[in-house]
């Protein structure tokens, strides 16, 4: 099981770049001094350097940055897929750093919904069944049909991934991620493999999930246009958060231009 730790954010003095200013909602993701490096000696690559971050309950965050800026590494650590070299990361009162494999699996299973860049659907299962697959192992899932309706795919329930377009497949993936009513929705370049119009459909599905399920949503992308739909945009570079922007008004995906 994940170790529960007392919240420590309140005692921090000046909020660093990634930390949010005091608002009503409590932070759900907390990262302090995160470092991640690969290799050793001269060949060492620093993917994250001393990164601090708070993400609030229900917040829609876009992590923006070029390849190699560390955004994927950060998402992997938040998703319990990877461990930092040093520093700590926590989900609510669950310590993610140092947790064992079983605890991280349980964390992903119970709290996190993932959307991948390449959909990662099971080709031998229909849209409905791909969603059902996750519903089967969730504590309090919605009906798969309901999840698919949320992403606008009620008419494609019994199609296999091979019979769906890329955008439809990605929306199935979104439905699969939200069917468990996740606390957090982590999306890795969800529109990376899609054209603009299809991408917008997928983004509205994600936005709707964020709104209606109340899932804290983190989307990583190198597409700056997507930033408009976020509550907060974190720009990353060289393994650090180099800038934080807060949108006064979240744009609807249809309003995005790229």
């Amino acid at each position: 099981m994940l170790r529960r730790t007392p919240m420590t954010t309140a005692s921090d003095a000046a909020p660093p770049a990634g930390k949010t200013e005091a608002t009503g909602a409590p932070p759900v993701f907390v990262a302090r001094g995160l470092c991640k490096s690969y290799g050793s000696g001269d060949a060492t690559v620093h993917a994250l350097r001393d990164l601090d971050l708070d993400i609030l309950q229900g917040e829609f965050v876009v992590l923006l940055g070029p390849s190699g800026s560390g955004k994927s590494t950060l998402l992997n650590i938040l998703g319990g897929l990877d461990a930092p070299t040093s520093g700590r990361a926590a989900w609510r009162d669950h310590e993610l750093t140092g947790a064992d494999e079983a605890a991280l699996t349980a964390y992903r299973r119970d709290h996190v919904g993932f959307v991948f860049q390449f959909y990662n659907l099971i080709p031998s299962l229909t849209a409905r069944e791909n969603v059902e697959l996750v519903a089967e192992i969730a504590r309090d899932p919605m009906r798969p049909e309901e999840a698919l309706a949320l992403v606008g795919l009620s008419h494609r329930l019994d199609h296999f991934p091979g019979q769906l377009s890329g955008g439809e497949q990605q929306r199935v993936a979104v439905a699969r991620a939200i069917v468990k009513r996740p606390d957090a929705l982590l999306c890795d370049e969800p529109t990376g493999a899609l054209d603009v119009e299809t991408g917008k459909l997928v983004l509205s599905a994600i936005a709707r999930a964020n709104r209606e399920v109340g899932a804290t949503t983190v989307v990583i992308t190198h597409n700056a246009a997507i930033a408009g739909m976020a509550d907060r945009v974190l720009r990353m570079g060289g393994g650090r958060i180099v800038a934080t922007e807060r949108n006064a008004r979240r744009l609807a995906p249809e309003e995005l231009v790229w």
Binding site: R109, S124, L125
Partner: protein
């Protein structure tokens, strides 16, 4: 080194688990081929060289008593090259250590003291008896080795009822006794059967045969007809009590050796063929799938502008490397097992030398055959991939069947997790079929190894529990009136005694004939109970003759047909007799008549030549000692001793083959299951890693991936059991051995063991792959598949 060759080396290393399991498969096929062919060739070579060196006779004849002067007439028969006469007789050896009387034969050596012209002895130690010494003898190596005798030892021998002492001066092999056993037994009994060679004068005196011979052996001139010589020889010897001449084919040692060689030849062809067929099939499946798993790489090479030929060469090299590894392992193992197998023959066949021969062409043939077979599998897969447009090859293979249909409908009611393996199985039916069939083929291997135990058990049960129900079988020196049976029944320890009359005959049906013995049994005999195919007792026919089913098949006759029976004793009369019944037997060929009818046929009184005994076990030892002393007893065969010899001799043989074939069964099961699982993981690792990211535990993911194989294994095992039955029938059907029959009886325990071995091998493979599933790279799932 070209870049592709470097890729080759790295692939070889990266795929080492698969490479090794496939190499072992090839090795197993090669090993069986090398083992069976080399042991067959070695045995054949030893036979040929010993026969040539010792001038093994080609025609044999026994007479009651013929004057030596008759040999000149025999020599004049057109087609006879060399003829030699000798005196031979039954000998009983009073050997202190033997628990039952030792039976044997004594044969005369030429007066000159030289080697005989035919059937020369090969002395292992000592010398031949001096011409002037009547108390010296050479002894057969089998008995000498069994009792650790050396030149200088003495033996007491009862010849013609008289006790003589011989000093052993030489220990010898003879082409006539490559296989030695008590008459009628298919197993050697080195401790209980002996052959002695003594000076002609000594033997002739013992049997009152001075100036006479009882056996003629001869060789044929080139191009001579054996049948014509035999017919003429019979005519010449008939007035002197000729018992029917016969060719090498009917010489007991030669026939047994030939039967075994024929059996070996069959096995040397069928078993490797079955095995190689299996290995070829598996290579095709496994290597094909391995190449299939590299389709993106192949497509990339093609997209980069590589023409098909270097790509094909690249994979051919890969296969060649695996085959080379497999062949090297297989040749080494095959040579080792072949030498071991030959070692198993040594107690059966007494050759002066039995060297292990491995002709160069054999491993080469095996290696080339395995490479050809493997290449076929790979090229087929390669062709499929190279024919794809490069762009399509670069995309991961999508199971085309997943557009609904049967696979789509299956398991709607099951959970989504169960549907993944189910659709995996049904979505690629051909692949599933091949996997199932491949795993199934492991089962017959184990069964083929273990079933010999069952076959031997059922042989013993049929022959010694059901048919021959006595404890001992006594051969008399010559036919005696029936009161001899009553005398024997009164001996202490004898619970029951039944007389039998055994007469050598030649049975003919149309063009086919066989030399054998007819046994006359009293009506209602209890110590020998003939049985039909359902093992029900068959009453002994009052008229006509009962033949064994195996003999009837070879003669091409059925119940009710008439056969011609030529009695090879006394007046040599010929009779036409109806086949009254068919009976089962295992060892030799049975022909039965009612004893009274047989004696009437012989125009003789109520005579018996053998007595079957039921014996009180507590008094048995004293009884054997007593029988050894009785003058008219030629030999006593004790069932318990025979069974013990059987166990000793057969157990070693069967154990070797059981262990070997079980190992091969494991290699097949592991080869197919492990490779299927690895390829599945290669193909679906990304999917499985995605599931892990979605929160599935390692156990759940492993279950989804391995369930497909589990189902395949569960279907394969029963299928394999059916195949096993079929293979056993196939191999036994290819046998052509007249010495003994092997019933295709497979016990439940054998089936169960084979099933468990294969299940165990599959489980072990799954565990290994499960460890790889545990190490899946989850982060990779978030990236594009490469």
């Amino acid at each position: 080194m070209s870049v592709l060759d470097r890729k080759l080396l790295r692939d070889f290393w990266a795929l080492r688990g698969q490479v090794l399991t496939i190499a072992l498969l090839i090795g197993a096929g090669v090993a069986v081929l090398v083992m069976s062919v080399s042991s067959f060739l070695s045995l054949r070579a030893a036979q040929q060289s010993f026969y040539a060196e010792s001038r093994f006779a080609e025609v044999f004849a026994e007479v009651k008593r013929a004057p030596r002067t008759l040999l000149a007439r025999v020599a004049e028969i057109p087609g006879v090259a060399v003829v030699e006469g000798r005196v031979g007789g039954e000998a009983r050896v009073d050997w202190p250590g033997a628990e039952v009387p030792v039976a044997g034969r004594v044969l005369s050596l030429p007066v000159s003291g030289e080697q005989p012209a035919l059937n020369r002895l090969r002395l292992l130690a000592g010398r031949l008896p001096e011409p002037s010494r009547h108390d010296e003898a050479a002894i057969h190596a089998a008995f000498a080795e069994a009792w650790r005798m050396r030149p200088g030892d003495e033996v007491a021998v009862i010849l013609n009822g008289r006790r003589e002492r011989f000093r052993i001066v030489g220990i010898a092999h003879s082409p006539e006794f490559v296989f030695t056993s008590r008459p009628g037994s298919p197993l050697p009994d080195d401790r209980g059967f002996v052959v002695l060679w003594a000076n002609e004068e000594a033997v002739a005196r013992a049997f009152d045969m001075q100036g006479a011979f009882t056996e003629a052996v001869l060789t044929l001139a080139p191009g001579a007809s054996e049948a014509a010589v035999i017919a003429e020889l019979d005519r010449v010897l008939l007035p002197w009590g000729g018992r029917g001449a016969y060719g090498r084919r009917d010489q007991p040692s030669h026939r047994f050796l030939e039967d075994e060689l024929a059996e070996q030849r069959t096995l040397a062809v069928t078993v490797p063929l079955v095995f190689f067929g299996i290995a070829a099939f598996l290579l095709n499946v496994v290597l094909g799938r391995m190449v299939e798993a590299q389709r993106d790489q192949i497509a990339a090479l093609k997209a980069l502008g590589y023409p098909p030929f270097p790509i094909a060469t690249h994979y051919a090299k890969f296969v060649a490397a695996i085959c080379l590894l497999g062949s090297a392992l297989g040749i080494a193992a095959g040579a080792w097992m072949g030498a071991g197998m030959l070692g198993n023959y040594r107690p059966f066949f007494r050759f002066p030398e039995l060297p292990y021969l491995l002709p160069v062409w054999l491993p080469l043939l095996a290696a080339v055959a395995s490479f050809a077979v493997a290449l076929l599998g790979v090229l087929a897969a390669l062709r499929r991939i190279l024919r794809l447009p490069a762009a399509e090859g670069l995309r991961p293979a999508r199971p085309s069947a997943f557009v609904g249909g049967a696979a789509g409908d299956v398991g709607r009611r099951l959970g989504a997790r169960a549907r993944i393996p189910l659709r995996g199985l049904l979505g690629r039916p051909l692949r599933t079929l091949l996997t199932v069939f491949g795993i199934a083929l492991a089962v017959p291997m184990v069964v083929l190894g273990l079933f010999w135990w069952d076959a031997m058990d059922s042989m013993v049960e049929l022959q010694f529990d059901r048919i021959e129900r006595g404890d001992a079988f006594v051969a008399l020196t010559d036919p005696r009136p029936a009161r001899a049976v009553r005398e024997m029944a009164r001996l202490p320890g004898v619970l029951a005694a039944e007389g039998q009359r055994i007469v050598p005959v030649r049975i003919r049906a149309a063009q086919r004939s066989r030399l054998l013995a007819v046994t006359g049994l009293p009506a209602g005999a209890e110590l020998r109970v003939p049985r039909d195919a359902d093992l029900r007792p068959v009453p002994i026919p009052r008229d006509g003759i009962a033949l064994s089913r195996r003999l009837a098949e070879r003669l091409g006759v059925r119940a009710g047909d008439i056969v011609q029976v030529e009695v090879l004793e006394g007046a040599r009369r010929v009779h036409d007799l109806p086949v009254a019944a068919l009976v089962e037997d295992i060892i030799g060929f049975t022909a039965l008549m009612e004893i009274g009818a047989l004696n009437r046929l012989m125009r003789e009184d109520d005579l018996v030549s053998h007595v079957a005994l039921r014996v009180d076990p507590l008094a048995a030892e004293a009884l054997w000692r007593h029988l050894a002393e009785r003058p008219r007893v030629a030999a006593t065969n004790v069932k318990a001793v025979w069974l013990r010899v059987f166990d000793e001799v057969i157990a070693g043989l069967v154990l070797t083959s059981a262990v070997t074939l079980t190992c091969f069964g494991i290699i097949i099961a592991v080869g197919v299951v492990y490779n299927s699982a690895r390829v599945a993981l290669q193909e679906r690792g990304w999917e499985m890693a995605s599931l892990r990211v979605l929160g599935f535990t390692r156990r759940e993911v492993a279950r989804i991936l391995l369930a497909e194989l589990a189902v395949a294994v569960l279907v394969a095992v029963p299928l394999g059991l059916v195949l096993a039955q079929w293979f056993v029938g196939l191999i036994l059907g290819a046998r052509d051995n007249e010495s003994f029959d092997v019933p295709p009886a497979i016990s439940t325990a054998t089936f169960a063991t084979a099933a468990l071995v294969v299940l165990g091998a599959a489980l072990a493979s799954a565990v290994v792959v499960r460890r790889r599933i545990d190490r899946l790279d989850l982060v990779a799932a978030l990236k594009a598949r490469d």
